[in-house]
Structures are given as C-alpha cells and as structure tokens.
Symmetry: C2
Subunit: 686 residues, 2 copies
C-alpha cells in the first residue's frame, strides 16, 4: 500500500493546469490515459498530521483487495495541506458502473445494462467524459470511498488509540468523519459546464423549459428527478389554475376570492354556488389522480432515458452504516454482514411505530393545550381586562411555537436514531424509512390545524382565511429566506472573504468550493411541494385561487431553486435513481386522502347544507348519500389508477426484452458452467 | 408429411399391451425409447372419412417446421375407427417444458428453470415418467396439439371446400373442432394411479389431509390449486367456527341461533349483546385479512414446490384463438400475430364494461320489478281474495326465477363473446377476463338481494332468516345435485351400457373414458367457495353459526369434489399455474368489502341503535363515528396486508437468486454473441 507518484500529468481542464500535478497511480493496464479529471474534494481537519494524510491517500489509491478504493489521489498542494483531490481511473469507473447496474447505450442503440466484460460493445466507451455523466463519475468516486473497509483490526496512523482503532470490516470513511479527521467530502464543480447550464436553466428569458438532461448529467439523478417533477407538476397546475380563475372571476355567485369578506352568510342571488363548489371538488379529485398516473409514466420514461430503469440495489454492497453478523449473501454469494429481515420488522413494529405515534400524540396534545389555554386566557382577559391579562393573551401562541419547535428538533434526532436502529441494508431503503418518519410528522404538523378547523370547528370561512394567508405569506417568507438571504450572504460576506486570498487561484478555487455551506438536501423542497399539493387537492374547493397562486409560486420556484443549487451551496452527491423514491407514494397517499377530504368539505359547506335542507333531506340522509358518494369516488379513483398503465408501452417492451434475454442467457450459460465442488447427485439411469 | 408406421412397440402399461400397437415415428435421435405411454385420446366424429383421419394423424406426427405437433399417434384400432391415441416423444416433452418455463430440480437440489440445452444437469432426466408429472405430460400434448397451425392456405382432405378450407396460420385443432370432425380431446386416466390416489384422497378414514402433491402430479396445476385452497380455507374456518359456537351457546344474550325466533325485539336481560356483535364483526375483518395474506404465502410456497413460480406466459406462443396482423414480437423476436394493447383496452372500456353494466342494471331491474309486482299482487289478493288472485300471488316469484335464469344464460354467452372480442394473447389473461365478467354477474345475482335486505329494508331478522336458509338449503341441494345424482347416473345408467359391449376390454376402456361427461371446470366450485366466504365475512356477525355450518359443509365438500373428479367426469386438462388466478383478487376484494359491510351492519343493528340512543348520541353523531371507524379499519386492513409479506423469505431469496443469476448470465452472454446483420454504429475513438 504505497503511494506511487507520477511526474506531471495533464489535467482534463486546461484552466486548472497550474494546479495539482502529481497523481497517485493505480497499477492497472487500462488506466494509462492522457486525461485525469479531478472529481471529488476531501477536506481534512486543519490539524491533521502528515502521516495520517499519507495513510488516507495510500488507502484510497490501494486496490480493492487491500481494502482500498482504487482511485487516484492528489495531495492538493496548498499551504495548509488539508485537502485531498480524488480522481478515478477508467477501470474503476467501469467496474462500478456495472456494480450499480446502470444502463448505457449499446451498439444496437438500446439502453442495456452495462457489463464490464462486454464493454467494447457500448458506445463512447473510450471517452469516460462522454460515457458517464459528471454526476455519475462523482457518485462512483463517493461509492468507492464509502466502500473502503478495514480488512482487519488496525490503527489509523497519527491518531491516538481509542479513536484511531478500526475494527475489521468497519467503514474507514465513516470512522474518519466521526473522528473529525475528514471535515467534508464534496464533488467539484466544473465552472464552464456550470455556467453553461445556468444560462440554459435560470438565466434564460423564456417562461418555460428546463434543461433536464443537462441537470441530470451535471447534478445527477435525485436532483434531476426533483426538477423534472417540479416541471411536470407546474405544467399540470395550468388546468386547475384556469378553472380557479374562471370560478373566481366569472361565476358571480362564487365569491370566494380573498379580497371579499370571508363570511359567506349572505348569498347575493339565487344562482347555484354549490355547482361551482362541486365542480371544483370533483375536478380536483380527478385531476390529482390523473396527474399522479401521468407522472408515473413520465418517471418511467426518464428512468429509461437516464439508464436507471434496471438498477439492482439489492445486489450491490450494503450501505456503510449497515451492521450484522458476517456471512454469505444467499443471493450474490458475497461475504458481507447479514441481518435478518424479521428482526428489522420487529424493531419497526415494536419500537419505531409506537415512538412515532407518541410524537404525533404530542403534536395533538400541544394543539389541544394551545386551544385550551387560549380560551382560558381570553376568558381571564374578559373577566379582569388588565395589562397583565393582555400580555398573558400572547402566552399560548408563544408557548405553542416554542413547544412545536422543540418537539420538531427532538423528533428529527429520534427519527434518525430509529432508522439507524432499524439497520437497513440499502441506502434507498434507509432514506425511504427515514424520510417517511420525518414526513409523517411534518405533514401532521402542517395539516392538523387545518383539519381541525375544517372538521371539528367546521368553520369554513376561517379555513379559507387560514389557507389564503398560508399560501401567500409562507410562500413569500419561504422564497425570501431560501434565496434572498443566502444570496446576500454570498454576495457580501463570502466574496469579501474570497478577495482576501487571491494568491493561488487554483487552490483557492478548490478551497472556495469546499467552504460554501453544504446543500441541505431535497427534503425541504419536496415537502414544500407536498404541502402545496395538499392545500390544492385537500382544500382547494374552499379557496379556488389556490391553483393560480401555486402556479405563480412554482414558476419562480424553479428558477430560485436552480440558482440556489448552482451558486449558493456546495455541489451535492446525487445517486442515480429510477424514481423520486418515497415522495411518489407520499403524493399518492395525499391524493387518496383528498377524495375523502373533498367529500366531507362539500358536505360541511353551509350552502350545501342549506340546499339539502331546502330539498327536504334529513341530515342522516345527507350523510348516507355522502358516504355512498365517497365510496363510489374512491372506487372510481382506483379504477382510473388501474386503467392508466404505470409505464408507456415502449418502456414496458424494453423491460420485457431485458427480462426475456436474461432468461435465455441464464439457460444458455448454465451449460457452460463448470460445477466445481457441487455435491453432485448421481443420476439414476432407468 | 407421410405417416410412418412402426411394427409392434411395447406400451408403458403392461395391462394395455393387447391394445394399440402401431405408433407413428418421429424422426428424432432421442426418441428411441422402450416406453410409449398413451397420453391423450382424440375422439373423432363417427362419419369421418379415412383420408381425413390419416391427414390428422400425419399432421400430428409431423415436425414443427411443417406445422405439425411432433407427437406420436396411434389409430386406436376399434371397429368404428373414430379414435386417435396420442403419445409424446421425449424431445417434444423436454422442448415444451422449456417453452412453458417450468422449473425442475437441478443437480444442486434447487428448482431451476428448465433448459433443453442443459437438460443433463437436471435430475431424473432419463425417465420422463419421473421428470414430468402425468398432468404435465398430458398438458404438453394438448399444448402441442393447440399449436398446430396451417402453414399456408390449404384444404383438409375429405371435407368439402367451405368448411375444410384452412387459412394460413389458422389453428388446425380449432378448425377441426368447429367443423365437428373432432368431438373431444381428453387426457387418458391411468387406472392404477387413479385408484391409489383415490384411496389416499376420498376413501381414507381420517378427517384431515389431502395428498396435494399427488393431486398436482395426477390432475395438474389448476386443480391442485383449487384443492389446496379448499384445504387451507377449511382449516382457517376453525377459529371463526369456534368463536361462532361460543357466541351462540355460551353467551346467553346473543340468542341469534336459528332455532330461536328471529325477532330480536325482546332482549331477555341487560347483558350487553352489542359486545358479541362487535367482537364477531371485528374478528371477521381481521380474520379475512390474515387468512388471505397467509394463503398468498402458502400459494407462493406451492408454486415453488411445483416448479411454476417462474412461468413466463408472455414469452410463449399466443393462445390458439388469438388473432392479429402477422408481425415480429418485439420481445421474443418470433413471427406471430400482433394486436396492440390500446385496441384491447379500448374494446374493454367502450364495449365490455358498458355491456356488463347494462346486465347488472337488468338484474337490479328484475329485483325491483319483483318487489313491485309482489306488493301489487298481495294488494290485489287482499282486496279481492279470490282463487285467481291467490294464484297470481305466485306469479312474481315464478316470473323472477324465469327472468333471472334467462338473463344468466344470455349473459354467459355475451361474456364469452365479449372476451373473445377483446382478443387476449395469453390463455391466462383470457380466463382472467372471462371469469371476472361471469364472476361479477354471479356475485351480484347472489348478493344483491342480501344487500338490499340489509341496507335498504334494514331488516336484520329477515337477513338472518335468509342467510340461514341459504346456508342450509342451498348447500344441501348443491351437494345432492353435484354428487348424488351423477353418482346414481354413473352407477345405474352408464355401467349398464358398459356391460353391453365387454368384447374388447382395451378399446372399450378407452371408449368408456371418452364417454363420460366433460368436467365442467372449476368455476362453479370456486364461486361456491366465494359465495360462502361472502356470507361469512360480509354478514357473519348477523348469524354466528355461519362458520360452523361452512366448516361442516367443506369437510364433506373436499371428499365429494374429489370423488366427482376421479369418477364421474372425463379427466380434464389442467395447466401448470403459479396461483389460483383471478380468484385470488376476487377473494381479496370481497374481504375488502366485508370491512364496510360489517361496519354498516353493526350500525344498523337495532340493539346498537338503542344503545347509542340511550347513551345520548344523535343519529348524525353515530353515523360520523361509524364513518371514522370504517376508515380506520380500512387503514388497519391495508397496513396489515402490507406488513405480512406475500411470500416466505426463502421463496423470495430463491426468486432473487434467479434474477441475479439471469442478470449475470445476460452480461456474460452478450460478449459471446456474434452480431450478425445488426446495424452496427461505428464507434468513435476519441
């Protein structure tokens, strides 16, 4: 495990030619290439000893059988020596491409699962910059770094014993991060490409269109899926927006608009306001179903286009944090930690679910307490009407906000710990369960009050007021804190710092990249969309301007999100994925709940009530009718979802082709397999 | 296409050695075997010309490339010459085994998809009687007979022009059956095996246990699945039966039993009868969910055990009735008729669904008319009280029965025609849609009245009376007509005929087999179970003795069904299948509806009503509570179904192994593939 250095190799980017110039060499015949492209930056703590850095570098460049990552490293060459720049040789890139199960264009023009042995049949195989996207190359480096494991119990040089001790099969990168030796691992930006992408993306003048393929290539799968979904969702908002505007401005009796008084007790004329109400509710149910089904098809198309429709995560190495007894994976035959599924399920059922339930209970408790104290305080204030009681009036709100925030913080930690204890094997499965936990809580927090107003207080005007203020105020505040503040910070604080040390542009460039704040992930972005979608599909019949407002918001959101991602944060790693993960079912569940919500909202609206009473129905009869309508609509929704296929025909054919070919190949291959060591049963000739 | 005859080959069954002794020979090196086992009997019309019979025989024995079936035929040798006995050479059996995607035991002990090229690695490959079950061998013969197609426009010798004309790619067997040349194609019984199986199955003394593997081997997949399900279902009936008995006999206040008066208006004491009601309802919901989930696991296990868990019907030849423009299948690359999926969906959506809807409407119309006229007649009778009006009193019932029967008959034809027009490619898909259509109608017919009584008339005592009479009377009548009548017919009518011509025991034996009535299929059997399951899960809380009665019925049902199948009908063909097809979702949907039904029944029960009114709830409040409870229970049901995995862990691992190995094999195989004729894109070397 010695680091071999090589004199003077050209970098791929001529602009960086003054930078790192001594690369470790991987002993591999295919890796003699004229291009070495720096892909990932590892930032070390400032006080890291030279021997530790040397050990890290040698481990990264060591071959896989020695527990290394088979990557190329460069010491960074700045004064402080707290950087390592990592690149990847061709053979590592290709090997991991196969491990991940990525599909690439085959010589016959089809997307085909990549195979290392058959590499020469794929297009662009000789140019890694064309064969793999930048994001894929960087993700592969990250994948390899994550898979570095100690082969036996050993010590990290330069770090005292308890912290520096590695157990056999422990993830090296995780330990180094935990110990504080590695501060940060970030993919490097390619300024030229970034500028080009930005021009197409957020600086262009036209209202519509995002360079989705460009985003996928530069930022990677998860991020490209987010923007594709945002794109598709915004486009889908046009029909409800038009309907909402029409109802608001052209139906005289449906005066739900925000600028009128919210009290709807005095209908101006005898026009039927219920009809617009009902049109809106039924439309919103059908719309949300069709929208989700069409998105699934779009999603499948994108997965084919981006070569991720055949990922086989269950056949990959387990994620770094996965623990278990060492054993042979029954499927792949590889040596790896094993953890029985029933144990995981037991932990989920007996620990995670009850704990999450308790926290949801605490949310309800907080809300109940808030209402209780509010009533109490206003009672006191009415009774005594002193300054003291006037101040006390604010107490419940403040206490509730503090309580909710504290609860949220505690919950975030608990959710992470719970998911870690569940010990998921795949990264995606970990994300799935972690996100679900946070999601349920956040959703509950957001909508509990609205549901309470709608179905317990049955106060539709208040619901309308609340909804419009939420839509307008929170969106404005959100945009402001998300973009304007970071922009100002970036513009005035960071750039002044940047100006202080303009001595070595290359090193400084690397340094600057590492110093931006870490990208906070897509959770906040998705949850914003989900909450929006919730407002729209759950309550839109109460406030028809929801859709136009959301449309307006999203058209700016696309740009601000893009700007933020390109300029204000470190570039994040982003795995190749075949869909938007847990957010898909989250949106579907919401669209399911919306059927029920709309039905009951319709029923509760005072006008519908008046109308049914005028028509001579008893409340029980109305309720029974509502139940029947609800069930019929749910059935309709399920039938609709069943009829619209989840993927376009041509994607299905491609998938079946692969399945068929694999089946055929398996049959053919078995013949050639030499069965060594198999307990051959003697065949009985009769 | 000449028939080559071979002098004197021994039959597999020594008892039949006096029988057919000249077999056609297939020119194939592997088929020189000492055993030729007669598998299938083709019965021709009595007036068929010799030249036609010769042509049929030569076609059956011709190789596949000449449009033949590659089977062995024997002319039957009775006086009338109206039989053809078919056997299968080893190579045909093995080739079709691969086509069907059957799994067999590999040399390493795992069930593995059979591959012809790798045949020597499978156990028992040298003995077809051990390698394939009798049912599989017979199904393969049927599969090959079905796949005989005219290669070009031609005439069947001995049949006049319009009828005897075959179009290119037309199914030969279908045409021969349509023209009336072929009366019947039946698999032959193996009397020894049948006797042995019967002994284990219906003649044994113990109450429990069926030889499921034996049934699968002798009768084949679909039938084995039916009996496995019947077995599992009967076993699952024990818990609800015990609960039902307990409630009936040990809870004094819950006097729902049939022998008491059905009117429940006078509760004897103040004990809480509602609790037993609720226990029953909640139990029945949970039971039906858990039962279905566990059956899925059992079903997956059976599919693995019987080698059908990896069937690939979409990669097989299309079913004989499939029409379409000739083209290349995009997945398998084979030349076959193609029919676009969207056309099928269009036909289903625009024709099938509305037509079925109209028929369901007619059922409701009939029911409404029945109630209307009944009321009218009893009004008249009260008013005039003459003999004439007394006779008229019977008119509505009789008219309704006649109407329902006619409607049912018309519908059966319409359903078949509709499904044929939908033009499904796979046999299973055809069955699925055909069965669904008939099922929906039958189910509606059976339950519409009960639902009407329960939810419109809200007459629980009447529901209880109706349910108990249905359970007791129809089951008794069913058993009688299903078994006793055929048994008597068999015993006295058929056997006396049999005695008339005892001259040639072998020929007579074959003749006798063909002369039994055709097995009517499993539809009636399954629908009986489904309706049972419906009574139990939908309405059982009304009549707790349902489960014990059903248990009693099923314990005899197993035996009578077995006897019927073995003795009273021709042996049916039965395809290897991986589950019980459309019946699986049918039971699941029913168990879903049961949640709603139980909730509303609970609500409607007069005692619950009294109780809630005593407790001071308004009817609206009760209804709201019921809605909430219903939604919560549905959520619980879905969670339960989600948590219990559909297949046991070990089956999942086996499946993943196959998937992984296929993936690996595909990668390996591509390298070896020589790309002939592919439009090779020239690779750009950079």
């Amino acid at each position: 495990m010695t680091t071999q250095k090589e004199p003077q190799k050209e970098l791929s980017d001529p602009g960086k030619s003054s930078g790192p110039n001594s690369w470790s060499r991987v002993t591999c015949p295919c890796c003699i290439s004229s291009h070495i492209e720096p892909l990932v930056l590892i930032q070390l703590a400032e006080n890291v000893q030279h021997i530790t850095k040397q050990w890290i570098m040698s481990t990264i460049s060591a071959p896989g059988k020695n527990g290394g990552a088979q990557l190329l490293v460069h010491p960074g060459e700045d004064m402080k020596g707290d950087m390592i720049v990592v690149a990847a040789p061709r053979c590592t890139l290709l090997r991991v491409t196969e491990d991940l199960g990525l599909c690439k264009t085959y010589q016959d023009g089809n997307m085909t699962t990549f195979s290392y042995d058959d590499k020469d049949s794929f297009l662009n195989i000789d140019n890694m910059q064309q064969f793999l996207t930048l994001a894929e190359r960087q993700f592969i480096v990250k994948y390899e770094l994550d898979s570095m494991r100690a082969l036996e119990d050993q010590r990290i040089p330069g770090i005292p014993a308890p912290k520096g001790k590695l157990k056999a099969r422990e993830s090296i990168l995780q330990r180094l991060e935990k110990v504080g030796v590695i501060r940060n691992v970030t993919p490097l930006h390619d300024q030229k490409k970034l500028t080009a992408l930005g021009k197409e993306w957020y600086s262009h003048k036209s209202l519509w269109g995002q360079p989705l393929d460009g985003i996928q290539a530069y930022f990677g799968g998860t991020i490209a899926y987010y923007f594709s979904f945002l794109d598709f969702y915004t486009l889908s908002l046009f029909p409800p927006a038009i309907l909402g505007l029409f109802i608001t401005f052209f139906l005289p009796s449906a005066n739900f608009s925000a600028n009128k008084t919210a009290e709807s007790a005095q209908p101006k004329d005898d026009d039927d306001p219920v009809s617009s109400y009902m049109v809106q509710a039924v439309f919103s149910m059908i719309w949300s179903t069709v929208f989700m089904e069409l998105w699934k098809r779009r999603s499948a198309t994108l997965a084919y286009r981006w070569g991720t429709f055949n990922l086989a995560e269950q056949f990959q190495e387990p994620r770094p944090g996965f623990r278990g007894e060492l054993g042979t994976n029954p499927v792949t035959g590889r040596l790896e930690p094993l953890f029985p599924d029933w144990k995981r399920k037991l932990r989920m059922g007996l620990v995670s679910v009850p704990v999450v339930g308790v926290f949801l209970g605490l949310v309800v408790l907080g809300m109940t307490g808030f209402y209780f104290f509010e009533r109490l305080m206003s009672g006191w204030h009415k009774a005594y009407n002193s300054y003291f009681t006037a101040v006390l009036l604010y107490f419940p709100s403040i206490a509730h906000i503090v309580y909710t925030n504290m609860l949220g913080n505690v919950y975030r930690n608990v959710a992470l710990k719970l998911t870690e204890a569940e010990n998921h094997r795949e990264e995606s499965s970990f994300d799935y369960h972690h996100t679900t936990k946070v999601l349920v809580f956040t959703f509950f927090n957001n909508f509990a009050v609205l549901f309470h107003i709608a179905f317990f207080k049955e106060d539709i005007p208040l619901l309308r007021k609340r909804l419009s203020s939420l839509l307008i105020v929170t969106q404005l505040v959100g945009q402001f804190t998300e973009v304007v503040v970071p922009y100002l910070v970036d513009r005035f604080v960071t750039s002044s710092e940047r100006n202080l040390k303009e001595d070595d542009p290359e090193v400084d460039h690397l340094q600057a990249q590492g110093n931006l704040p870490a990208f906070p992930g897509l959770f906040a972005e998705y949850i914003e969309l989900l909450v929006q979608f919730g407002y729209l599909s759950l309550f839109s019949c109460v406030y028809p301007l929801t859709a136009p407002l959301l449309l307006l918001n999203n058209l700016t959101e696309i740009r601000t999100d893009a700007y933020k991602l390109c300029k204000l944060f470190n570039k994040p790693f982003s795995a190749p994925v075949a869909n938007m993960g847990v957010w898909q079912p989250a949106f579907e569940v919401l669209s399911f709940i919306s059927v029920m919500s709309n039905c009951w909202l319709l029923l509760l609206s005072p006008r519908v009530r008046d109308l049914t009473q005028d028509a001579g129905f008893s409340s029980v009869q109305v309720l029974v009718i509502a139940v029947i309508v609800e069930h019929a609509l749910i059935a309709l929704k399920m039938i609709l979802a069943f009829i619209i296929p989840d993927e376009p025909d041509w994607v299905q054919i491609k998938r079946e082709q692969i399945e068929y070919n694999s089946m055929q190949a398996l049959k053919k291959q078995r013949i050639k397999r030499v069965n060594v060591g198999d307990a051959l049963q003697t065949k009985t000739k009769i």
